[in-house]
């Protein structure tokens, strides 16, 4: 866990002091909204449909128990008792009042958290694999690099007014759990001839022009990473389009300028920048940061208690089967705590639930928590002998839903229940889909299936990479939902394909049910997942089921 230095603390205190003064000047009328807006956005403060919204960064999704408790404290002190974890590994507070925001930021700073660069045309919160440091399949922990990038990008003078926002994701494992191919830059830690380096993807992104990232460099040695990234962002910052915000992201530059041309420009820029890093301070700093992320001292203890409980208790077994992942240490497991109880709001946790998770992390989880882009909370390091107790406490807090990776583990953006940009609601659609399949008792039979819902084309809900993606739109003053199928957010990233015309609000749950039942009818065995079946049969059987009357109409 990264520990803030005096420099970090002073920087944050000064930044919060500045923002407090800016809020005061806005309230007393010396700043207009046009003047204030970029300042508040730089500090994560949005104005949404019903209230302000404060977006707090959870750098690379890592928290300790004290930080989680402080998030709970903010939720009940200045909000309505809950927070919303997002697909960007942030937490959003939906109801702060303008006057309270400086106090909220000061409270966050007490535990080394902040809202800097969670908005604006800057380098945003660097996201990472939520199993980092724990996963059995990992080449290296991506978080030290993510922390290095956070320090490098925070208040970087060259990158404060870029053509548009810029998102970086990093994974240290070949199984990509960080959707790196859907980011402006995706980094994948790889090993070549024993040496650690980075595959650099560029130009991925969802939104109105979804693109899968392309390989800008197959292998950048660790010592070159920072100057290489700086060169890439710098090239885009200069030649990226500023005439049209919808064409400003680096994915459009890659598309229009061409990957090879961009590569050549980046190489030229890299040659100029590399000498500036000649002292190797960045490399030394990375080595220093790595010491903060040293693995905890794992317990060597028997797992008999777990094995016995697993055999005896079917509810525990069901939870263990869906919510545990393989840990790199003997006797350990990674616990994913579902924030997707059927009928609840995906990603929401109450202050009490946050404290329960913080306590569990402190007592049984080496004091670590993670937030996933799939809007769940992870206890990355848990010895299996503690799992029965953890499960019991989660159950008492309404946090033991056994549905990770299943149909009710839905990503949903806030949609038109909160967001000023939304064109339709997404939360109630997620709630109703989850409830419907709970009633049908089909969830476990259906197996792995990722539904992702966005309430507008900006695609915060990652609908393009959902196995079933749902996009809410405003069609002539009525909510309408388009469906895409076959999307995939892993290392084999694919943008889903649209089925056809959209569905009304009261039809969308039925349409999803039709798709799922079609899959159940055509799969070759219970082992063939939705995505595998889709890859085999294509979109046509699903279209035929969704639009049975189309043939006659077309005739």
């Amino acid at each position: 866990m990264y520990r803030y230095s005096d420099f970090d603390r002073d920087f944050l205190a000064e930044r919060n002091r500045q923002f407090r003064a800016q809020v005061e000047r806005r309230i007393d009328g010396s700043l207009t909204e046009d003047e204030f807006k970029p300042l508040r956005l730089m500090n994560g403060l949005y104005l949404q449909l019903h209230a302000y919204m404060l977006r707090v960064a959870i750098p690379y999704g890592t928290l300790n128990s004290a930080q989680m408790r402080q998030l709970a404290y903010l939720a009940e002190t200045w909000d309505k008792g809950y927070g919303h974890f997002t697909t960007r590994q942030n937490i959003q507070y939906n109801w702060p009042r303008l006057r309270d925001v400086p106090d909220m930021l000061d409270a966050l700073a007490e535990v080394g958290l902040h809202a800097i660069q969670t908005s604006g045309n800057t380098i945003r919160n660097v996201t990472a694999d939520h199993f980092a440091g724990a996963a059995a399949d990992e080449v290296a922990d991506p978080r030290p690099v993510a922390e290095l990038l956070r320090q490098w990008s925070t208040d970087h003078p060259e990158f404060q007014f870029m053509p548009r926002k810029f998102k970086i994701a990093i994974t240290g494992a070949p199984n990509d759990r960080a959707v790196t191919a859907a980011h402006d830059i995706g980094l994948r830690i790889v090993r070549k001839d024993g040496e650690i380096g980075y595959q650099v993807l560029v130009g991925g992104g969802l939104g109105r022009t979804p693109m899968i990232g392309k390989v800008l460099a197959e292998f950048i040695p660790a010592d070159d990473l920072l100057p290489y990234l700086e060169a890439t962002v710098a090239v885009w910052n200069v030649i990226g389009r500023r005439d049209n915000k919808y064409k400003a992201r680096i994915k459009i530059l890659v598309h229009e300028f061409g990957l090879e041309n961009l590569k050549a420009e980046v190489e030229k820029e890299f040659a100029l920048r590399k000498p500036l890093y000649a002292g190797g301070k960045d490399v030394a700093l990375l080595e220093e940061i790595k010491t903060h992320f040293a693995a905890p001292a794992f317990d060597a203890a028997p797992t008999d208690a777990f094995d016995a409980f697993y055999a005896a208790d079917p509810i525990f077994r069901s939870w263990a089967d869906t919510n545990l992942s393989e840990h790199r240490a003997e006797g350990y497991a990674i616990v994913t705590i579902s924030l997707k109880k059927q009928g609840d709001t995906p990603g929401d946790a109450t202050a009490d639930q946050m404290r329960v998770m913080a306590d569990l992390a402190q007592r049984y989880g080496h004091d670590e928590l993670r937030i996933s882009h799939e809007q769940n909370v992870i206890l990355p390091h848990v010895h299996k002998r503690h799992l029965p107790q953890i499960h019991a406490e989660l159950r008492a807090a309404g946090l033991a839903t056994a549905n990770i990776g299943l149909i009710s583990d839905i990503i949903a953006c806030p949609g038109m229940d909160y967001c000023a940009l939304a064109t339709a609601r997404s939360i109630p659609v997620a709630q109703e889909i989850a409830t419907r399949f709970e009633e049908l008792k089909l969830e476990h039979e259906v197996g792995p299936l990722k539904i992702k819902i966005s309430g507008c084309i900006n695609a915060c809900g990652h609908h393009h990479v959902g196995h079933i993606g749902i996009l809410g739109l405003d069609r002539a003053g009525v909510e309408n939902y388009q469906i895409t199928l076959g999307g995939d957010g892993t290392e084999d990233a694919v943008i889903g394909t649209r089925t056809g015309p959209g569905f009304a609000y009261d039809e969308i749950v039925g349409a999803v049910e039709t798709i799922v039942k079609t899959y159940l009818g055509l799969r070759e065995s219970a082992e063939e997942t939705f995505l595998q079946a889709y890859a085999r049969v294509g979109i046509e059987p699903f279209k035929a089921a969704l639009y049975p009357e189309t043939k006659t109409r077309a005739a």
Binding site: R26, I27, D28, G29, T32, E33, L47, Q48, L49, H50, A51, Y52, K80, N94, W95, P96, R97, L98, R99, T345, D348, M416, D417, Y418, R425, I427, P428, Q431, D474, G477, V478, E479
Partner: protein, 99 residues
């Protein structure tokens, strides 16, 4: 041919609370849609919007929203504006409980 002007209200968010407010005919900001001034003349709408936009120390982001006359006063016509009159659908928070 330009489209016919449809009736409007002026709405914004309150600077301090951030919640939804509407401009009344007597130049107040109300939390109740039904108390808003229903504007049926396009030129008048533009003038009233200018009036609203000047009040930078009270409200943020004033705009004209479609509305229609109803038994208790102006009513929203678009679903987005309907949601703004009451709050989110996943919790009983916002105007649906505060008003």
């Amino acid at each position: 041919m330009p489209r016919d002007f449809t009736p409007k209200v002026i709405t914004a968010n309150h600077l301090l609370e951030g919640d939804v407010v509407y401009q009344t005919a007597d130049d107040r900001w109300t939390r109740y849609h039904a108390e808003a001034e229903l504007i049926t003349d396009e030129a008048h709408a533009q003038i009233r919007l200018l009036d609203a936009e000047r009040q930078v120390d009270t409200i943020v982001g004033a705009y004209l929203a479609d509305a229609q006359d109803g038994p208790k006063g102006p009513e929203p016509t678009h679903f987005r504006e309907v949601f703004r009159t009451r709050g989110p659908s996943n919790y009983a928070h916002g105007k649906q409980v505060e008003l």
